[in-house]
């Protein structure tokens, strides 16, 4: 989900730069969730300092913010984290895999959530919970924890996660005579579709709505509707053998989406082109979009420059019911072979715990827009009236903290993830090319089931 990274403009400018020293000062010495390695006095034995290698795909503004955080960590710790950007998510994975096969992987690798199951199955990774030791899961947002858990083990440590939300052009809303979406946001297919149609009718805007044609957006609707995408509880009770495209929810999703396109309310941005969606919104070609919550800063800045007002709201769902949402972005996985000594384990554990501590997470959220993973970070942000000042950040945070821990909201445990998701995205291409929805879904299911069968 590269688009989340590349589209982001930092919140840094608006949130106010926080000096590196001040940040480190926030943590001070009361970092009691660190491990024994944090013990400053002990120069030998357990207290040996170690250098941990950390590979990730974050470049640009987010890369710079990450660099500041890593520098802060290194300033206050005996250990050292050396981070380096290794291309995009796929390239990080490729590099990590080849390094692991050669016996010299990094200690921490940032991978996309879809790669999690494959990483586990490859046998080259250790659950991150084994590296960190006792993890107090209750301190983390439910929607983040259950997404990275496989059989009670934590396989990747959440760091840069976002979800999908809606964005509205308030000027177009006013022109169309629609109610202010800040008071009464449209949340269902029906409401959003009505608003989009009204916008086309009442204004000069060519299309009412746009959102990315990307499986991430489709999977959100399954999660919101409480429907698992794959059988065997989304793969958590054994590798899936079937994709669940033969149910009412699936028919509803693709019929509604196809109709929206046929009626001319939907601006089709092309396959997996989130940038095109954001651009259409900033150039006021559409009144509503759904996009990654990681785009908040960029879209608000863009709208301000272009001279119109926007607001964010919850992601559109098939029905009123909202069971939960799924995550995008990356998480930190730990290749097995990197840990030559206990000091390395201790160093990695300390870094991960430090990154997820409330103060750091609150800052991380303010600067990057990523969802804060620590429950206490929310309190800190609320104390500062962050969400009153910047209400656009609420919908994504609410979605992940209110997400129910059910199989439908869990990360699908499927291999090969990429291939099945490409086939899932094919379905909508066939629908708008004229294939009836039922037929397109049946064909999609047949193709995906055959791929699943091949690997089971």
């Amino acid at each position: 989900m590269r688009h989340e990274v590349s589209t982001r403009r930092t919140v840094l400018k608006s949130a106010g730069a926080v000096s590196a020293l001040g940040l480190a000062g926030c943590i001070g010495d009361d970092d009691d969730d660190g491990t024994d390695s944090g013990d400053d006095d002990d120069g030998n034995g357990n207290g040996d300092s170690a250098t941990v290698e950390f590979w990730h795909p974050l470049g640009g503004d987010v890369g710079e913010i990450l660099d500041e955080f890593v520098t802060d960590f290194n300033d206050q710790s005996d250990h050292t984290v050396e981070h380096s950007q290794q291309g995009n998510y796929n390239e990080v994975l490729d590099a990590t895999m080849s390094a692991a096969n050669a016996g010299d992987p990094p200690h921490i690798a940032m991978i996309g959530p879809g790669m999690l199951y494959g990483a586990k199955e490859s046998g080259l990774f250790t659950p991150v919970s084994e590296i960190v030791g006792d993890v107090d899961y209750d301190q983390f947002a439910s929607g983040l924890v259950n997404f990275f858990q496989i059989e009670d083990e934590f396989w990747a440590w959440p760091l840069n996660n976002s979800t999908t939300i809606n964005y509205y052009n308030l000027d177009i809303y006013e022109e169309a005579g629609l109610p202010d979406p800040r008071d009464d946001p449209p949340t269902t297919f029906e409401e959003v579709g009505d608003h989009a149609a009204t916008i086309v009718e009442e204004t000069d805007v060519s299309n009412g709505i746009s959102f990315n044609h990307h499986q991430w957006f489709t999977r959100q609707w399954f999660a919101l509707g409480g429907q698992t995408l794959f059988n065997n509880e989304n793969g958590h009770e054994g590798h899936p053998t079937e994709i669940n495209l033969d149910n009412d929810l699936a028919t509803e999703i693709w019929s509604w989406w196809g109709d929206l396109y046929d009626e001319g309310s939907y601006l089709y941005p092309g396959r997996r082109d989130g940038q095109a969606v954001n651009q259409a919104f900033i150039s006021q070609e559409v009144g509503i979009i759904a996009s990654s919550s990681a785009s908040i800063a960029g879209l608000f800045e863009g709208a301000e420059d272009a001279g119109f007002e926007i607001a964010s709201g919850p992601y559109l769902a098939p029905q009123e019911e909202r069971v939960g949402q799924v995550l995008g972005g990356g998480a930190l996985a730990t290749p097995s072979d990197g840990y030559e000594s206990d000091a390395h384990r201790a160093a990695a554990a300390e870094f991960l715990q430090w990154m997820s501590s409330p103060e750091i997470q609150a800052e991380w959220h303010k600067q990057t827009g990523y969802i804060p993973m620590h429950v206490d970070a929310l309190d800190l942000l609320e104390e500062e009236n962050w969400f009153e000042e910047r209400p656009e950040f609420s919908p994504a945070v609410d979605a992940m903290f209110e997400s129910e821990d059910v199989p439908a909201t869990r990360n699908p445990m499927v291999d090969p993830f990429g291939e099945t998701m490409d086939l899932l995205d094919d379905v909508f291409e066939f629908v708008i090319d004229g294939t009836p929805v039922d037929e397109a879904l049946a064909n999609g299911k047949e193709d995906i089931d055959s791929v699943l069968g091949q690997y089971s």
Binding site: N90, L93, M97, M115, Y117, G118, A119, K120, E121, S122, G123, L124, Y268, G270, R271, D415, P416, G418, E419, D422, D426, E429, F430, I432, D433, D447, S450, Q454, Y455
Partner: protein
């Protein structure tokens, strides 16, 4: 008296002189080819880890897969169109340039230029020209003909667009060789034909073409290879094999399976199949050309 041609008196120099070439061929051609053949009997899971021997399963799966059949059909249509049209248009353009009396160089540069572009750049340029919403070409065609151009959605249109793009990109290469061949034809033939009152089309068809057959055969082979392999970048940038897999030619399918899905077993099997298809085509083309070709 010594035989002046016998520079080498022993035979050991033969393997020695061949060694560098053979070594390079082994390292970069034969060993990888054998590796690919071996890999095609394995199936790996989880990003290419833990390969497991599956015999001919990868091949059986490909031969029975509707998606692979579709990819094969797309490749046949694509290759026929690209090879045929590139040569026809290339020949016509070369003929025009050959006959034109002023500014020949300008026309030649204009025709050859696209060949100098890297395929990825060509793909990006054509993407903008043909873009369904903002492309200059698409918008003007829509205004003039009232056709609805929407090749990001309509599979057939997408195939036509990548075919046009590939022809445009391949044209320059053909023009270079056609012009060289035309320039080798003796002037006296043209003059004699003119005196006999032979028309332009007949001149090209009945006088020039038979004399150009070696070039035609060479270009036929090169264009086939081009259509099968070198159009990858254009597809990758313009359509990524879509929509509805309508532009998913074999080489693109192979790339996606191997390097995006980490399905190296199937990818290797596909490369072996592709090798045999192209090899068979080459043999047929060379046989046919032996029968009809005039060399000198």
């Amino acid at each position: 008296m010594s035989d002046r041609r016998a520079v080498f008196t022993t035979k050991w120099h033969i393997p020695l002189l061949l060694a560098p070439t053979v070594a390079a061929l082994f390292a970069f051609q034969y060993v990888p080819a054998i590796q690919a053949l071996r890999l095609s009997f394995f199936r790996a899971r989880a990003f290419g880890q833990n390969p497991e021997f599956v015999g001919l399963d990868n091949y059986i799966h490909l031969f029975t897969s509707a998606a692979y059949h579709n990819s094969l059909t797309v490749t046949v249509i694509f290759t026929l169109a690209v090879v045929g049209m590139t040569m026809l248009v290339g020949l016509w353009v070369s003929f025009m340039i050959y006959r034109v009396s002023s500014n020949k160089t300008v026309y030649m540069i204009a025709a050859i230029w696209p060949y100098a572009l890297p395929p990825a750049v060509a793909g990006a340029i054509l993407m903008f020209l043909f873009h369904p919403q903002v492309g200059v070409v698409s918008v003007n065609i829509e205004n003039l003909t009232h056709l609805n151009i929407n090749w990001q959605v309509k599979g057939r249109q997408a195939l036509i667009v990548v075919i046009i793009a590939s022809i445009w990109k391949g044209l320059g290469f053909n023009v270079i060789f056609f012009l060289a061949a035309l320039n080798k034809i003796p002037r006296s033939l043209t003059e004699a034909s003119k005196l006999d009152g032979v028309g332009d089309l007949n001149l090209l068809r009945k006088v020039y073409l038979p004399l150009m057959t070696p070039t035609l055969v060479f270009l036929l082979v090169m264009n086939t290879i081009y259509a099968f392999f070198s159009t990858f970048a254009i597809i990758d940038i313009m359509t990524r094999g879509g929509p509805t897999n309508s532009t998913n030619i074999l080489i693109y399918n192979l790339y996606v399976d191997s390097f995006q899905y980490y399905n190296l077993g199937s990818g290797s099997a596909q490369s072996i199949i592709l090798f045999f298809i192209v090899a068979a085509l080459m043999i047929v083309q060379l046989r046919v050309s032996d029968r009809y070709g005039h060399y000198g």
